[in-house]
Amino acid sequence: MLHLTNIQKTYPHFHIHVPELHVLKGEFLALLGSSGSGKSTLLRIIAGLLTPEQGTLVLDHQTLTHIKPEKRDIAMAFQQPLLFPHLNVIENISFGLKMKRRKKKERLQQATSYLELVGLEGYETRMPHQLSGGEQQRVSLARAMIMKPRLLLMDEPFSSVDPNIRSELQELTLRLHAEHHMTTIFVTHDHDEAFQMADRIGIMQAGKLLQVDTAHQLYQAPLSVDVARFLGQKNIWQGFIQAGKFISDFITFDRVEHPTGKGHLIAPPSGFQLLKPTNQKSEHEMEGTIAKISVQKGSYRILVRVHAAQIETTVPFDPHITWTPNEPVLLRYQADHFTWLPDPLA
């Protein structure tokens, strides 16, 4: 559907390079990255507001490179709602149809139905300054969707509204996407937002698209240490594997069945189970002490000191078990939860 090849753009202190990106028809793709990672720049390149120095963009077998943004049939919702202040709600929504010289009756009819779609019936003649931030974004969304674009781009559209309004807007967007199957690229810096909403997530960092995958795949099989770190993995160690054993300066794990060689071991918190010490210690268990406890939604995040390493674990709330700092504990691990990233061959 949308196919990007070798897109490059250089700024004095920044270079964006996307070797390849495929977006499928009807897909909801999130571009996730911290600010300055180039995700908005990439979106503007797709929209045509910025011209890449190199590379091709193909949408539905049509090369977009030399087509003006207004002719691309791509709609965009920006970070700010950007409603035209001199036009009322219904005029704002029907703006694009007016530009296409559609008849007044048709414009009014469609705009009204899209206004209902975003849940703002009765707001027709209000001016933008009379709306709340969330309402403005709804109008902005309706204004983009009424164009029935081949591609809908959303550039952090909910980052400037309150959290509760934000989840409302997220649900609305998902509902509209499910009903209309509009191919969407959604830029965000919010992990939760990306993981909740998107079919696939593209992770961007310093102008590079590190990995595009489903949420599950990103956690289970990150392609690089950068991706794992970006997704919040703390248990990452550099070391080597020898005879089914992972050895690093800080920690050692048995039964890590990978070919011998150097690399990084990524051990998600789900691969560990925290136990009260017993007299017996089995093969997959290590002794440690609790370094730090912090409370999260429905669970504890407990850092356990084992040898020279600190291992992050998550433990569900249990009213019968209490954990205290400096308490000796037993840490059981499941090596099949771990990801091994061998270093590229020199």
Partner: protein, 268 residues
């Protein structure tokens, strides 16, 4: 700022009197004669100044026509020049921008009379002195910055993002200007047009220098009476001058606001 409504009301009253007083004086001077001690007000009603004004001999009609044609022509040309200039200054960066900006706003600081000395020579070469066209060209110099300034401010507050948004809703360049930029710029255009008209209306020296006395505008026929000490004629012409200026301003404001209001509700 003010401790009570009372002091604010007093200040308003004070300002009102300061502004209104000269007008009352002008009215008294123009309608009466024989204002001598110990009378508080002049005693004899004398409308000879007004009858001269409307007699057709005073050249009033010609002066009003000249003033209007010159002011509106100069303002129209200014608008055509100032729109792209303000756009370039507000939304683009280019080498030498500061210098261009300084040059464009220079007439605000350097007396336009300085430029007039050079311009006069050029206009003589072009055979345009003593013509309405010549005076109109000369009026561009002092009026231009007054139109440019509010437009410049309007353009700086015109978010380029609105343009980007309009583009992605399929608006062509012309459509973007007409439906997005122009409504936003309208208050700035309104303010600039009024200032430009006003400044052009009140030009004396430049009109005299380039028009050589052949092109009579309102200030030109007003000035001799004031300098010669004929207070009655001076006051009468001043009232006429003020009336013409004010009515033009009201008409312009009314027209533009109507246009703006129209644009406000009709795009649907």
């Amino acid at each position: 700022m003010f401790k009570s409504h009372k002091s604010w009301a007093l200040l308003q009253l004070f300002l009102f009197i300061i502004i209104l007083f000269p007008f009352i004086m002008m009215l008294l001077f123009s309608f009466f004669t024989g204002w001598s001690w110990p009378h508080l007000f002049p005693q004899t009603l004398n409308v000879s100044a007004w009858s001269y004004l409307f007699s057709g001999n005073a050249g009033v009609q010609e002066a009003i026509t000249n003033s209007l044609v010159i002011a509106f022509s100069a303002t129209a040309v200014n608008l055509l020049l100032a729109l792209p200039a303000a756009h370039a200054l507000a939304q683009h960066t280019f080498a030498g921008k500061k210098i261009v900006e300084a040059l464009l706003f220079a007439p605000l600081i350097i007396p336009p009379f300085v430029a007039m000395m050079g311009l006069q020579i050029t206009l003589i070469q072009w055979n345009l002195t003593d013509t309405r066209l010549g005076v109109t060209i000369a009026h561009l110099v002092p009026t231009f910055p007054y139109l440019l300034r509010p437009l410049y401010t309007s353009f700086t507050t015109l978010a380029s993002e609105w343009n980007a948004q309009a583009r992605l809703l399929g608006a062509s360049r012309l459509q973007r200007f007409w439906y997005v930029s122009l409504p936003h710029l309208m208050p700035g255009i309104l303010a600039g047009v009024m200032l430009s008209l006003l400044v052009s209306f009140s030009q004396y020296l430049i009109t005299l220098l380039i028009g050589g006395g052949a092109i009579k505008t309102l200030p030109l026929i007003l000035f001799p009476y004031i300098t010669s000490g004929d207070l009655r004629m001076g006051a009468t012409f001043s009232i006429l001058f003020t009336a013409v200026t004010l009515s033009i301003l009201f008409i312009v404001e009314w027209c533009l606001k109507r246009f703006y209001k129209h644009r406000h509700t009709v795009p649907m």
